[in-house]
C-alpha cells in the first residue's frame, strides 16, 4: 500500500482531515528549506507538498512567484529538490511527499528517467500544473510504473462533463482548487466548497483535498469539516519570507494542525 493511501486510511480511523502543507524547495536556501521540511511532520503536517522551483510559474500568485525566484537565486533546481526529499527520507519513512510545479524541468530531465529518480528519492505523488489530461499521457504511464501517484487538479470550471476526463488519470487523492485564480489570492465560501466536493465525490472514491486561499486555523478547520484534506501554501511561504527562519512557518503549521485536529470534534 502506498504511503498516501496508508495515511488517508489512518486519518479516516481518527475521523479527521489531513493537513497538507506546502513549501518551495530551496527557499530561501537549501538548509533553511530542509529544516522546514524536516520539521513539518512533528509540527502536525500529514502530507507535504514540495514546490519545484521554476522561472515562469504561470498559475501562481506573488508569494509563490517570489519563493521560486529566491530558490533559483540560491541555486535551487529539480536535482536539489530530489536531494532534499532523499535527505528527508533518512528520518521520515511515513509522511507522503508530493512534488508540485511545472512541466518544463521534468521535460528537460526526461519524463521516464525522472519518474525513476523521483521514486528512488522517496517521492509519492506529482502535481504538474500545466499538464492537463490532454497532454498527461507523456508522463503518467512512467509515474504509474514507478508507483508514483498523479494527483489531478479539479477547479470551479470542471463541470460534470469535464470531471470524468480529469479524473481518468487520477490516483492518490484529488486536489480541488477552490477558486478560479492563482495561488494565494481570494478564498472560496464554505458553501461553494461543500457543493464542489459533493459533486467531485459523485465521480470518484479518492480522498478530496481542498486548497487555494486557506490561510488561518479557522479557515482550515472549516474546510476540514467538508473534505479529506486541507492544503495551505502561500500563507506558510509568506511567513517564511518575512522571517527567513524555519521556526515561524513551523509555528504556523502547529496552529493550523490544531485547527484541523479540532474541526470535526468541535462540531459533535
Amino acid at each position: 500500500m502506498s504511503r498516501i493511501k496508508r495515511r488517508f486510511e489512518s486519518l479516516k480511523a481518527e475521523n479527521r482531515a489531513a493537513l497538507v502543507t506546502f513549501i518551495m524547495a530551496s527557499d530561501p536556501d537549501r538548509a533553511t528549506a530542509q529544516a522546514v521540511l524536516n520539521g513539518m511532520p512533528t509540527a502536525g503536517a500529514d502530507i507535504i507538498e514540495l514546490g519545484m522551483p521554476f522561472t515562469d510559474p504561470m498559475a501562481d500568485g506573488p508569494a509563490i512567484q517570489l519563493a521560486a525566484g529566491r530558490a533559483l537565486a540560491a541555486g535551487g533546481s529539480l536535482k536539489q529538490t530530489l536531494e532534499m526529499v532523499a535527505e528527508f527520507r533518512k528520518t521520515d519513512r511515513d509522511t507522503p511527499i508530493i512534488l508540485m510545479g511545472y512541466y518544463n524541468p521534468i521535460h528537460a530531465w526526461g519524463p521516464e528517467k525522472f519518474a525513476g529518480d523521483a521514486a528512488l528519492a522517496g517521492i509519492d505523488g506529482m502535481i504538474v500544473v500545466d499538464l492537463p489530461p490532454e497532454e498527461a499521457g507523456e508522463l503518467v504511464p512512467f509515474l504509474r510504473s514507478a508507483a508514483i501517484d498523479f494527483i489531478v487538479l479539479t477547479t470551479p470550471t470542471s463541470d460534470d462533463a469535464r470531471l470524468p476526463v480529469v479524473l481518468a488519470n487520477a490516483s492518490g487523492f484529488v486536489y480541488y482548487v477552490s477558486i478560479a485564480g492563482v495561488t494565494g489570492t481570494g478564498s472560496a465560501t464554505g458553501a461553494a466548497v461543500g457543493e464542489a466536493v459533493t459533486r467531485i465525490r459523485r465521480h470518484t472514491d479518492l480522498p478530496v483535498c481542498v486548497g487555494f486561499g486557506i490561510r488561518t486555523p479557522d479557515q482550515a478547520a472549516g474546510i476540514a469539516r467538508l473534505a479529506e484534506g486541507v492544503v495551505v501554501g502561500s500563507a506558510i511561504v509568506q511567513v517564511l519570507a518575512e522571517t527567513g527562519t524555519a521556526e515561524a512557518p513551523l509555528a504556523l503549521v502547529r496552529d493550523l494542525a490544531v485547527g484541523v485536529r479540532n474541526a470535526r470534534g468541535s462540531q459533535d
Binding site: A59, N104, I106, P132, T157, A180
Partner: protein
C-alpha cells in the same frame, strides 16, 4: 529535407505540429480553451464570419497593402529583385491588426466583453486596444516595464485608445513576463474574459488560428506577384519573434517547392552572448501552453532573451516554426542588433521608409544574401511594421555624437 505531401495540413486534432504545439495549460483554463477551439472551428466554417473579417480588413485596415518593388534597395544589394510587403501601411502600423480583427470577432461571437493581451513592442497592444475601441470592449494590456520604457509612444497610444496598461516587473520585465501575467489574469477571470494572443504561440488553437488570420499576407503576395511578374516569388524573408508575420507570409507558399523560405531570428548581442534565437540556440521544451524550441538551461529553467527589438525579445517561438525547422522546409537564420540597426538606417535612407526594428532583421538578412542571387530572382521581404515607435531606441543605439550630427 524530409519529404512530405503537404506542409499545410497541421496541426492535428490535438493541436500538435509533429511533437510541437499542444495545450499545456492549467486545468482552470482547459474548458475555456476547448470552447475557444470549438468557437473558432464554427467561425472558420461560417461564411458570414469570413465575410465580416474580409470586409474589415478592406475597409478598416486598408488591405490589400502594396507589394512594393524597392528599386534602391535592390540596387544597393546588387542582385535579387527586392519587394517589400507593406504591412507597415496597415491601420495601426503593423501586421498585428490582421489577427486582432479576426479574434475580436471571435470574442464577440463567444459573448466575451473583457479583452486581455500581452505586448512586447506595443504593436499588438495598440492593435488590440484599437479593435476594443472599435467594438466597445474593455481592454487590459500586460506589458513588461522594460518594454514600456523603450516603446513609450505605443504606451500612450494604448491609453488614448482607452486601454488599461498594466506594467509587469517580474523576470526581465519583457514579453515573456507579460504573457505570464496575462495568463494569470485569464485564470482569475475565465468567465468574462477573452485572451487575445498576439502571435502564433500559446495553447492550441491559437497557433493555427493566428496563422489563419495572418495568412492574408501570403495570399496577397501570391496574387500581387502573379500580377506584377506573372510568376511566384523565388524567396520569402521575414523576421521571427513568436513568428506571426512570418507564418502569415510563409503558409500559403509552404507547398511550393520552388519558393525558398527564410525566417530571421534575433541574435541580439551575438549567438555566444545574450540573444533571442530560440531555434538556433534553444532546445524543445514546454512554456506558455505549447511545446516548442526554448532558450533554457539544463534544469529546464527559461533563459532571459535579449533583442534590441522588443517584439523579438522572447525565449520561445511558435510551435509550427519549430516543426518547419525540424522538417527542413524553412531555413532559420539570425541577425544581430547591430546588423538590424544598420539595415534600419539603410532602408530609411534609400527608400524613405522607416521600418520597425523587428522588420529590419529581415531586411538585414536579405541584404546578406541578395547580392549573390541573379537579377531575375524575385525576393519578398515582409516589412511587418513601421519604425516610428523605435526612434528613441535607435537614437540611443547610434549615440549622442551621431545624433548631434543629425540635429
Amino acid at each position: 529535407m524530409q519529404s512530405l505531401n503537404t506542409y499545410r495540413a497541421g496541426p492535428d486534432e490535438r493541436g500538435h505540429f509533429g511533437i510541437f504545439g499542444g495545450r499545456f495549460v492549467a486545468e482552470t483554463l482547459m474548458p475555456l480553451i476547448l470552447q475557444v477551439e470549438q468557437a473558432y472551428a464554427d467561425a472558420k466554417a461560417d461564411p458570414a464570419f469570413q465575410a465580416e473579417f474580409r470586409e474589415l480588413l478592406a475597409q478598416y485596415v486598408g488591405r490589400p497593402n502594396p507589394l512594393y518593388h524597392a528599386r534602391r534597395l535592390t540596387e544597393a544589394f546588387g542582385g535579387a529583385k527586392v519587394f517589400l510587403k507593406r504591412e507597415d501601411l496597415n491601420h495601426t502600423g503593423a501586421h498585428k491588426i490582421n489577427n486582432c480583427i479576426g479574434q475580436i470577432l471571435l470574442a464577440r461571437r463567444m459573448g466575451k466583453r473583457r479583452i486581455i493581451a500581452e505586448t512586447g513592442a506595443g504593436q499588438h497592444g495598440v492593435a488590440t486596444a484599437t479593435v476594443c475601441a472599435l467594438f466597445g470592449m474593455q481592454c487590459v494590456i500586460y506589458m513588461g516595464s522594460t518594454d514600456i520604457e523603450r516603446q513609450m509612444p505605443n504606451v500612450y497610444r494604448m491609453k488614448l485608445l482607452g486601454a488599461e496598461v498594466k506594467p509587469v516587473t517580474s523576470g526581465a520585465a519583457t514579453l515573456k513576463d507579460a504573457m505570464n501575467d496575462a495568463l494569470r489574469d485569464w485564470v482569475s477571470n475565465v468567465h468574462d474574459t477573452y485572451y487575445l494572443i498576439g502571435t502564433v504561440a500559446g495553447p492550441h488553437p491559437y497557433p493555427a488560428m493566428v496563422r489563419d488570420f495572418q495568412s492574408v499576407i501570403g495570399e496577397e503576395v501570391r496574387a500581387q506577384m502573379m500580377a506584377a511578374e506573372g510568376r511566384l516569388p523565388d524567396s520569402l524573408v521575414a523576421c521571427i519573434g513568436g513568428g506571426s508575420n512570418a507564418m502569415g507570409l510563409f503558409h500559403p507558399f509552404l507547398d511550393e517547392p520552388s519558393v525558398r523560405i527564410i525566417g530571421v531570428e534575433a541574435a541580439g548581442h551575438g549567438l555566444d552572448k545574450l540573444h533571442a534565437a530560440s531555434l538556433t540556440g534553444g532546445k524543445p521544451g514546454v512554456l506558455h501552453g505549447n511545446r516548442t524550441y526554448l532558450l533554457q538551461d539544463a534544469d529546464g529553467q527559461i533563459a532571459e532573451a535579449h533583442s534590441i527589438s522588443a517584439g523579438l525579445d522572447y525565449p520561445g517561438i511558435g510551435p509550427e516554426h519549430s516543426w518547419l525547422h525540424e522538417t527542413g522546409r524553412v531555413e532559420y537564420v539570425s541577425v544581430t542588433d547591430d546588423e538590424a540597426v544598420a539595415a534600419f538606417q539603410q532602408c530609411t535612407r534609400l527608400e524613405g521608409i522607416i521600418p520597425a526594428l523587428e522588420s529590419s532583421h529581415a531586411i538585414a538578412h536579405a541584404g546578406k544574401i541578395a547580392g549573390a542571387l541573379p537579377r531575375d530572382h524575385l525576393m519578398v521581404i515582409n516589412l511587418s511594421g513601421r519604425g516610428d515607435k523605435d526612434v528613441n531606441t535607435i537614437a540611443k543605439a547610434l549615440g549622442d555624437i551621431h545624433l548631434g550630427g543629425l540635429v
